[in-house]
């Protein structure tokens, strides 16, 4: 492992040390060219078939892409997606903490919740949420099994929108809870122990030490779930909630006898939102990966200037900096094992 790292050119070493790199003819790879051409031709055929087929009615697609009902549908879809994800994340953290609790009641309730909401179809759950005002016509606040103080008509409180939002959120929370649990479990117990030894309270340890590091594991699948939720919102017709993009476009499609172009309109909007979400996901993952990604980065940006000049203790700051970048170069080569504690000697 280490000898291999020595053989590769050191990117971070002093430039005067750099030897003349080897000049060798590459291995001929005709297969690469052939496969690339084949795939490009196939892709061109697919694109051509899409653009030139008059049945897709691209002019209609373009017309309705900016239709006011469609854009409003996009808005409702976004509200449902982010609203339900926000509720679900809070619930999921709660469920995951309950799952790790010492209290057996907390543990079992969390387990049963996840079991039920993962074990039944989201469509069925949404239908039930739509029927809640039939099943429970009255809601009341009061002492459990005792007197009631406030009584509501369920239909007034849980409208179709709230039924859809809660239905999506409660289902999603079960999946996210498992993701959060895996994330919390991925943090080295030594982290919590070190914080405990410093006298921090358990709630602080969770919030300041464990959760931020768990986010590195939690963020990528949560981004995935958000993108998945974007499409799952199309199921709220089961409630029925009829303002989001899929229902809005299919309604127009039925009315104008042009279902295909309107399906494409919805698909394009989903694609666009997904693309934006992917950009956001990249930045969120980068933020929570701080201090962990590769180790091949320098000190935090905009910092590290003030100390390096004056106070250099023994060997001088310059020598140390050279040493660090050499480490970084070795790690960057990707030939060593990914252990932040390992100091690699070339």
């Amino acid at each position: 492992m280490t000898s291999h790292a020595t053989d590769t050119p050191r990117a971070g070493a002093r430039s005067s040390d750099l030897p003349e790199p080897l000049h060798a003819r590459p291995v001929p790879r005709p297969g690469r060219w052939v496969s690339a051409v084949v795939v490009l031709v196939l892709a061109a055929m697919v694109l051509h078939a899409l653009v030139t087929n008059p049945n897709f009615r691209w002019d209609t697609v373009w017309l309705y892409l900016r239709d006011v009902n469609v854009v409003r549908g996009v808005g409702w879809t976004l509200v449902l997606t982010f609203g339900s994800m926000a509720i679900a994340v809070v619930l999921a953290v709660l469920l995951a903490i309950m799952r790790r609790s010492d209290n057996p009641v907390m543990r079992s309730v969390s387990w049963a919740y996840i079991w039920f909401f993962r074990g039944t179809p989201i469509y069925t759950q949404l239908v039930f949420w739509g029927l809640i005002s039939v099943l429970y016509p009255r809601l009341s606040l009061g002492v459990p099994f005792g007197p009631e103080f406030f009584v509501f008509d369920t239909r007034d409180v849980i409208t179709a929108f709230w039924a859809a939002l809660l239905g999506l959120a409660l289902n999603e929370a079960a999946y996210l809870a498992e993701i959060v649990r895996a994330g919390l479990g991925s943090v080295d117990p030594g982290q919590a122990e070190a914080a405990r030894a410093l006298g921090m309270k358990e709630s602080r340890i969770l919030r300041r030490i464990v959760l931020p590091q768990a986010m590195r594991v939690i963020a990528p699948p949560t981004g995935n779930e958000t993108i998945s939720m974007l499409k799952t919102t199309s199921l709220v017709v089961a409630v029925p909630f009829t303002l989001e993009i899929t229902y809005a476009t299919s309604a127009i499609g039925t009315r104008t006898f042009q279902p295909i172009p309107l399906l494409i309109v919805a698909a394009l909007w989903y694609l666009l939102i997904t693309s934006v979400l992917m950009v956001g996901q990249y930045y969120i993952e980068r933020y929570y990966g701080r201090g962990f990604d590769g180790g091949a980065t320098g000190p935090r940006r905009g910092a590290g200037r003030k100390g390096s000049g004056g106070t250099g203790s023994t060997g001088g700051a310059g020598r140390r900096a050279g040493r660090l970048s050499r480490q970084a170069a070795i790690r960057g080569a990707g030939t060593t094992k990914d252990d932040p504690f390992a100091e690699v000697t070339p």
Partner: protein, 273 residues
């Protein structure tokens, strides 16, 4: 067990409360047939301002003993006093023993610094943030004041120029020095070191031991679990040798390390020296 325990250091005046006083400490992991009796009645007295080095083969219970001095392990029997205060429990007026509220235990821990074998620096925080974290979260210090103090402490361990590096960007020796600074930030009255140099490459051991030696010279009370016999000989006031969950021999380093009376200690020293 008192038969195996030598009288405590003569340097302690009878009037002074020892920094650590552990009496008859037992620790059992697990229950029933699989139970593991790791500590079998340990007595340990650490006078104020002294350095005690705990030696012993792996599995002898020395790390567990250290963790009991900081409540990271709950003791099964016996008692631990730190600076005269009973750890983890209190007696009410009728003499009934009560477990302390976790908040009280956290407060007790905050006065005892601990340095771990694997450093356990907070990976998502820079060196400076690692050191400043607990004073803000536990002591309620302002962020600015905590960062100023953290910068001072990093300078003290020779890492002023590494303040904005994440742990993954530091060598093992540098990480361990940050960990020492992090513990010192709480102004502990007692510092516990759990094999602080065992995870380090040989050429990085020296820098950590130097910091510890400076700390000892400044009058900090320290309990150090280590395999560094040289450190024990030079810095320790008191050396404790443990084997199989009991203290086998203890005394000043000269006596214990040069003229060991116990055959188990003689054998251990022949392996490590």
């Amino acid at each position: 067990m008192s038969a195996t325990t030598a009288p405590t250091s003569d340097a302690t005046p009878a009037t002074e409360v020892p920094m650590v006083e552990a009496r008859g400490v037992h620790k059992v992991f697990g229950h029933g047939a699989g139970a593991l009796h790791v500590l079998r009645g340990v007595d340990l007295v650490v006078p104020q301002g002294s350095v005690t080095v705990v030696l012993g083969p792996s599995g002898s219970g020395k790390s567990t003993l250290l963790r009991c001095l900081n409540e990271l392990e709950e003791i099964t029997a016996g008692s631990v006093h730190v600076d005269g205060e009973l750890l983890g429990y209190r007696h009410d007026a009728k003499g009934v023993l009560h477990r302390l509220h976790p908040r009280r235990i956290a407060a007790q821990r905050s006065r005892i610094g601990m340095v771990f074998q694997r450093f356990h620096l907070f990976g998502h925080m820079t060196a400076l943030e690692n050191v400043a974290e607990a004073p803000v979260q536990v002591r309620g210090l302002s962020k600015a004041a905590a960062r100023r103090r953290a910068a001072e402490l990093l300078e003290r361990v020779g890492l002023a120029d590494r303040a904005d590096h994440y742990p993954a960007q530091l060598s093992g020796g540098q990480q361990q020095r940050v960990a020492i600074a992090r513990a010192l930030a709480m102004d502990p009255e007692l510092m516990l070191f759990d094999e602080p140099t065992s995870a380090l490459d040989p050429e990085l051991v020296g820098e950590v031991l130097t910091v510890m030696q400076d700390l000892a010279r400044s009058g900090m009370t320290m309990v150090v679990v280590t395999h560094e016999i040289g450190f024990a000989r030079e810095v320790a006031d008191h050396v404790v040798f443990m084997d199989d969950g009991v203290v086998v021999e203890q005394g000043p380093p000269g006596a214990v390390l040069e003229n060991p009376s116990e055959p188990r200690l003689q054998e251990f020293l022949s392996h490590v020296l």
